[in-house]
């Protein structure tokens, strides 16, 4: 495979993963302005659920994916009821500290239960090889990942644009107080959106294992990438998140491939400059 094409393909696959991980945070942040740094802890939970079900109970890979989604969604609802709910009107510092505390606890808990090693995952046979097309080699798993992300994006956009629920979510993101004034039950709406977003992160965490690995530091390493996607893409914007995730995915892979010496510097530099120039993100309205 010619390098430029391979880099692009890997970058897009990586970008779709980042998109899955971050889209939920983008919407919930846009709606409630709640800075949830524990978002990737839910993703990590999804990953560990998949690993446990596959290696411990012998489930098939595909059967574990819904379980990862549900586990992360359920955990997020529990935390939302107990903690987050009280902090919607708190300062951003308090929100940061509360959720960083949860990140620390989740990392320690994961290390205690699973140890600090990378977790192995055995993919079904047809996802392991690669597919020949037009003289090019495509890794099957990456194609699968891209397909899943495209599917989810289509479902998300369709839900947001055409259903009553989607209209309410958009209204709440645009102007929370106004939406309340119109009689929309923003709290319930938010709880549902929060659960869905965290569930998607859990799914992303499960799908991420084969691509980037899974260890307790996941909750932290990918938090930074997710925050970059969310703040560069613009809060509450699915299209923006998608574009930012692709940019970051391709940029990161290309940077590490072509200029390994300055690798991540480039990403952080671009992010800082972008946010400085456009604090609401590329596609942000607010």
């Amino acid at each position: 495979m010619p390098p430029i094409f391979g880099v692009l393909f890997d970058g897009v696959a990586y970008g779709t993963l980042l998109f899955l991980l971050s889209v939920g945070l983008s919407v919930t942040l846009g709606m409630m302005n709640f800075i949830n740094l524990a978002h990737c802890s839910f993703a990590m939970l999804g990953g560990y659920v998949t690993v446990t079900l596959m290696n411990g109970l012998g489930w098939a890979f595909f059967a574990t994916l819904p379980a990862a989604f549900i586990a992360a969604a359920a955990a997020s609802v529990g935390l939302e009821r107990v903690f987050f709910r009280r902090f919607y009107n708190a300062s951003d510092l308090e929100q940061c500290l509360l959720t960083i505390g949860i990140v620390f606890v989740s990392i320690a808990a994961a290390a205690y239960i699973y140890g600090t090693d990378q977790q192995p995952v055995q993919l079904p046979a047809f996802l392991r090889g690669s597919i020949q097309f037009a003289g090019l080699n495509f890794a099957a798993y990456r194609l699968f990942l891209i397909a899943v992300a495209v599917l989810i994006t289509v479902v998300l956009v369709a839900t947001l644009e055409t259903t009553r629920f989607g209209a309410q979510v958009r209204a709440a993101v645009n102007n929370q107080r106004m939406a309340r004034g119109l009689g929309i039950d923003v709290d319930t709406l938010f709880a549902i959106t929060f659960a869905l977003g965290s569930g998607l992160a859990g799914l992303g965490g499960a799908l991420a294992i084969d691509l980037v690995g899974l260890d307790p530091s996941f909750a932290f390493t990918y938090l930074i990438y997710v925050l970059i996607v969310v703040s560069v893409g613009g809060l509450g914007s699915i299209g923006g998140s998608f574009a930012a995730a692709m940019l970051l995915g391709v940029g990161d892979i290309a940077g590490k491939y072509y200029v390994p010496a300055i690798g991540s510097i480039l990403i952080y530099l671009v992010m800082t400059v972008l946010i400085t120039l456009r604090p609401t993100g590329i596609f942000g309205r607010r």
Partner: protein, 330 residues
């Protein structure tokens, strides 16, 4: 404007400036480690360094309301400046401190132009980005910083040509404590000045401050530069007393740790951060047998507990209790 209206705020500030018995007792107690626990002087010097770093964060977070997730950047610049100076053959500690403060302050001044324009999530992301950027840059520039192996070959000359840094940490603690005290005095003067009042005004309502004509951006730039200098001095003391600098001085972990210490003690009170640094560092020393990952479990729980139960930190909770006790009928 009549004289009386001008005199009132002056009197208020002067009343704030008066030393209280508790404060004098606190600073006298900082001398106790020399007598009671001479085996722990190295830890005590680490606490003093952490205290200085927390003080620097308190100036911007507690008094001006600027949340920073990348404050280790300025600490690290100070540490590397002092370390490199010493490696290149100039190990005189006091001038090293001064140059480290200048380097960190210069970077703080440059970045303050960006910092002062933002609030909320963009601010958090930008401070985080600057911190990460600097750490990656230091990692890449291994010809200068030694990369992952850290900076080797630092040798600090005796202070004022007489007091050699010993193995037991007598000189290290005396040195760190003296610098901390001097800078604390400076910070105390600063926050009880009209400028300090203006900062608190910006923290509480920056829109209104702008409306009454206060140059909020310029104020934030000033305090951020000062805080960066203090952080740089803290970093420099660490480099000089331990005679080593590793990439960890720039790490996110350090930025998070200092935030935890400040929140634990209570923001916007100067002593809150110092108390937080003492509690945090002593606890970490006691639990050092623990795997660091399990240590973070307790730190995480502590953070959640502090935010949920005592949002104003230990000192805030304490002053609330005393006020309640006073208000309660006898």
């Amino acid at each position: 404007m009549t004289g009386a209206t001008i005199a009132e705020p002056r009197e208020y500030l002067q009343a704030q400036m008066r030393w209280r018995w508790g404060e004098i007792a606190f600073w006298l107690a900082t001398l106790l480690p020399f007598v009671i626990t001479p085996d722990y002087l190295l830890l005590a010097s680490q606490i003093a360094i952490a205290g200085l770093f927390v003080l620097s964060l308190d100036l911007i977070l507690g008094f001006a309301g600027i949340v920073s997730l990348g404050h280790a950047a300025y600490f690290g610049i100070g540490a590397y400046t002092a370390g490199l100076l010493s490696k290149w053959g100039w190990g005189e500690p006091l001038s090293g401190l001064l140059l480290a403060a200048c380097a960190a302050g210069a970077f703080g001044y440059l970045t303050s132009f960006i910092i002062s324009r933002f609030r909320h999530l963009p601010l958090i992301m930008i401070t985080l980005g600057i911190g990460l950027l600097l750490q990656e840059a230091a990692n890449s520039a291994s010809w200068l910083t030694g990369g992952f192996d850290g900076l080797q070959g630092i040798h600090t000359w005796p202070i004022a040509g007489r007091f050699r840094f010993d193995l037991y940490g007598y000189a290290a603690y005396a040195y760190a404590l003296t610098v901390l005290f001097v800078i604390f005095l400076g910070a105390r003067l600063l926050i009880h000045s009209p400028f300090g009042l203006a900062l608190r005004g910006i923290r509480d309502n920056s829109l209104r401050m702008r409306a009454i004509g206060a140059p909020t951006h310029a104020h934030i730039r000033t305090i951020f530069t000062i805080a960066a200098m203090f952080a740089g001095i803290a970093g420099a003391i660490l480099a000089q007393t331990t005679e080593t600098v590793s990439l960890e001085v720039l790490g996110f972990q350090r930025s998070a740790d200092v935030l935890v210490m400040l929140i634990l003690g209570g923001t916007g009170r100067l002593y809150g951060g110092l108390l937080g640094a003492i509690v945090y560092m002593v606890a970490r020393d006691q639990f050092s047998g623990l795997n660091p990952q399990y240590w973070y479990f307790w730190i995480g729980l502590l953070l959640i507990a502090v935010v949920v139960i005592v949002p104003n930190g230990l000192l805030g909770g304490l002053s609330l209790l005393t006020r309640r006790a006073r208000a309660a009928p006898p």
